[in-house]
Symmetry: C2
Subunit: 578 residues, 2 copies
């Protein structure tokens, strides 16, 4: 067992209240100034990177080099290559067994991080020295006591930009916050990571507003996908997607209110987990709409193995996060459920082939077919999931995202004079011309939300009439988005990810189908579009466009059943790998 | 084991959405009309009661008869008297053992209900025949099968007016809703009660707006305390308080967003339990501000024993309420915790002697002293609880109650032209002249709420430095209000009850000190008031005023620890009865 956190150390939001609620400036901004802020911010990052010149690539590849995923490993020794290909569970075991030191592990990941930044533009704040000091301390501790400080002893963990890390800036993709938001305190998740022995060394890019499934902002620019730089690594935790899939980090912390952990995991070929609201600590995040709780986001892990997702969750709850943050549910982690001990032998899965709005692109349909075949072969049941009003669900959740008509986003941009990036323009267009809702109007929207949740619960329950197990289906398999990693600024449909936020159901994303080989698909395959949205999304379909894009699936479970979702993931992976 | 509910039967809020959001009338109301609605409603109730003329008191006592608590039993046989003095657990056992039939149990309680109505004005809707039909059905079922249908087989349960009971009006203390709100569906809590074998037969009074700790409305008038009719039975679940303390019901269902279960339990000498938000089903309630979730109420039981509180909670979760209502937390009931199996042998309690705003009246201070002595004698630890900003907490929660500036309440009254009762005037005075908040303003209030919760969590954690157990205190003992059952329309301070709603901590109220004997106290005892509120509350203090008022205490636990709270209650009761 590890030490418990100081129990008087509960996280207070006072800090944010006093500093981070932006008020529009009273004088018109100098339009030249915002670019200077961005330049300064990027110069600082470059200056930090330049300390590690020997770790940088000998030559930055030209723009037409699309796949940089191997290139980023080119400065590593064989031993370092081995390290960065381990998952977090294996790394912590190897450090515990003194196969590797925390210092050499961190250096290996830092080397790749430098290269990943130079090729995909995925990081924001760099604090390798602080990480190395902590790694040395941990190595000495293990040497001296023979004990690890916690379950993550020596594990490098990367942190999404808007999550507070003491001493680091929290610009969060806003010019006006850049250099003005150095955190005085760690977020609760960061606090626990440190106590558990994790080594922090880098923060990663997120998009302007955070309300975007790609990653682009005026502070640091656009983050690209290491497997195909014409494609997005996803967002809003896209810096994590690009960094971890480059092997620059074994585990990252993201956040998800509409797909922001799962989409970057899917588009970057990673594992990503969105738990139910309030199962993991969530206090200590900087973002717009702080205090809005009509629809709430979650913190969760991105990693390179299913077991690492559990390692993250188990660690958070081992430290009794509910004693540090009021909102966290006191539901201790049920490891025996993840181990499958309580799982029925024969499971019943439903596949969501098509949400009724935008049919998924061919590689995703093929992947679901493969999952079905594998699960049937393993003796499980597979039925079709009847989609429940994905368009209506989107229309509702986007109102909840923009209750103030988008005013706070616009005000925050106006403070610095920075323009909206395309992703921001697109999401704000959903509230174009609409004033902020009144308080009673928000109550009606909440009722619509609860009504939708009630219908969805009944809908899931009703599958009992279509299964042979005597139970409703255990889980739903579906894509994370209608496309694989998308060409930049083209994201138009969140209905395969935000749907599960509206319903607050846990969802895990996992790489199952490798990376796209265009030769396996017909370039001319088309659907007869049922609507303008589907037409637009399908106009993108061309296998060459998506060359090298990872093929992932998503598995959805019932609320508060995080452990069962991970247990089912083990079953699905076993079947699909058989 | 009992049957599970139909899993496709999740509760939908659609019904309420379409019918119950009032819109102000376009024409000025006829001021005469509202009294006609009230007359009609009361005549209907009287007509229903008149069917049971032989059960009514031979003579309605005159107004100067203050204590009617024995009188209401005067029409009962010895056997019936024995029945109505049993708690719910004993009743269900006796029916299961065929000592009593469900029919004779119900008739005993109906007899008292009739008398309780004639003496305290505590009920709204009467459906004895429906109850008797169900009781007969249950008796036949047990006779035929030898099995009970569920854990509440044959138990009469009374339901607070604003909780939907299929086929019954839900006037909820509003003239405009009277006769217009016949429920098409049961609330989830009612649904489970029925499936568990409970027998429904009566609904009970709540105040206009529900946001009142007394019980008075223009539809049915004022509800009074059976132990002293000059006093209030509390509110908003005050009909339950008066009915159950009269022995007209063994168990009632109330709701609590500021003290509305606990205050009537305290002022009526009963057990009452406010669980954490979302541990018990809550869907299917009619009230103003539907959809508001900045501060949320809960459903909970009022009863005559501690074990009955558990019976209620255990039953709700045995039927997997989370499969019927999305919001309910999937935390199964932990009976072993209630049994004390996980409880440390030596507990540490903190006593909140004075919240720093209004010092409790002398009988409550004496009762806490008695609790302290008893707990110390039983080997437990008792320290002082340092109150945390009760005035600030109240100022915040009352803003959350009235985010729209009280507009919806006023609009609902305006629709019928009925006047505000004094309790409504008092609560609405907190938003007098203030417009509705804007959406961003509500976000800031939510942040203040979270900040307060964070400070309170740290505050509780920090007691570890003052205990000898190595743990923070296990529970807090305090009054439920600064006074015993109060003279009508005098309630001015919610700080001992609403504080725990703001913090979402479970709280149980229990009768510990019998009923007030004025001879035991000095009439002239006074405090030097620290503020106008304290002056006002203490100007009421005179032992004669509170003659016969029950003396109860409140026990607060940590969030989501309902089972531990009930386990600690057993310890406290055992110590105080020793």
């Amino acid at each position: 067992m590890t030490d418990k956190l100081s129990t008087s150390d509960a996280f207070s939001k006072d800090f944010k209240l006093s500093r981070y609620i932006p008020t529009p400036p009273s004088t018109p901004p100098d339009l030249a100034q915002w670019t200077q802020v961005a330049e300064l911010k990027q110069q600082t990052r470059e200056k930090n990177l330049s300390k590690y010149q020997s770790w940088r690539l000998d030559q930055i590849p030209s723009e037409d080099v699309l796949d940089v995923s191997q290139l980023v490993l080119s400065k590593l020794s064989e031993r370092e290559r081995a390290i960065v290909h381990l998952d977090a569970t294996a790394i912590t075991a190897a450090i515990r067994e003194r196969e590797y030191t925390a210092v050499e592990v961190l250096i290996a990941f830092c080397k790749v991080t430098v290269a990943a930044q130079d090729t995909t533009n995925c990081i924001t704040e760099i604090f390798f020295e602080e990480g190395l000091a902590r790694a040395r301390e941990l190595d000495e501790h293990l040497q001296r006591t023979g004990e690890v400080v916690g379950p993550l002893h020596g594990l490098p963990v990367s942190i999404k930009d808007h999550i507070l890390v003491k001493g680091q800036d929290t610009s969060t993709g806003y010019i006006t916050w850049a250099n003005e938001t150095v955190a005085e305190k760690d977020a609760v998740v960061v606090d626990i990571l440190r106590k558990a022995g994790a080594v922090l060394y880098v923060k990663t890019a997120n998009p302007q507003t955070l309300l975007c499934l790609e990653t682009n902002n005026n502070v640091f620019g656009r983050t690209v996908n290491p497997f195909n730089r014409n494609l997005s690594p996803g967002g809003s935790s896209g810096g994590e997607g690009a960094l971890i899939s480059s092997h620059g980090s074994p585990m990252g912390v993201g956040t998800d209110i509409g797909g922001s952990i799962r989409v970057p995991a899917a588009w970057s070929g990673l594992y990503g987990f969105k738990p139910s609201v309030a199962r993991m600590p969530h206090a200590g995040l900087l973002g717009s709409h702080d205090g809005m709780d009509n629809i709430v986001g979650v913190v969760g892990p991105l990693a390179t193995s299913a077991r690492d997702l559990e390692l993250f969750c188990r660690t958070m709850l081992q430290y009794e996060a509910w004693l540090l943050e009021h909102a966290v549910l006191e539901i201790p982690w049920r490891a025996e459920v993840v181990e499958g001990k309580t799982l029925p032998k024969r499971l019943s899965f439903a596949i969501l082939w098509d949400d009724g709005v935008v049919k998924p692109h061919p590689p995703l349909v093929r992947e679901m077919q493969r999952a079905k075949k594998a699960l049937l072969a393993a003796g499980h049941e597979v039925i079709d999931w009847q989609p429940l009003e994905h368009k209506e669900a989107w229309d509702l959740i986007v109102k909840l995202y923009l209750l103030d008509g988008g005013q706070e986003y616009r005000d925050t941009l106006k403070m610095s004079g920075e323009p909206a990036v395309p992703g921001t323009e697109w999401i704000l267009s959903h509230a174009a011309g609409r004033p902020a809702y009144t308080v009673p109007e928000t109550w009606k929207l909440n009722l619509e939300r609860e009504s939708f949740r009630a219908r969805a619960l009944a809908h899931w329950n009703s599958t009992v009439s279509r299964t042979s197990t005597g139970r409703p289906v255990d889980g739903i398999i579906c894509p994370t988005a209608a496309t694989l990693a998308i060409p930049h600024d083209q994201t138009r449909w969140w209905g395969y990810s935000s749907h599960w936020n509206l319903l607050d159901l846990p969802g895990v994303v996992f790489p199952s189908g490798g990376r796209l080989n265009p030769g396996e698909f017909q370039p001319v395959e088309r659907v007869e579009p049922r609507n303008a949205l589907e037409k637009e999304v399908w106009s993108l379909w061309n296998p060459e466009t998506f060359k090298g894009a990872p093929i992932n699936l998503q598995l959805i479970g019932r609320r508060h059943n995080e452990e069962k979702v991970l247990a089912m993931l083990n079953i699905v992976e076993k079947a699909m790998k058989a």
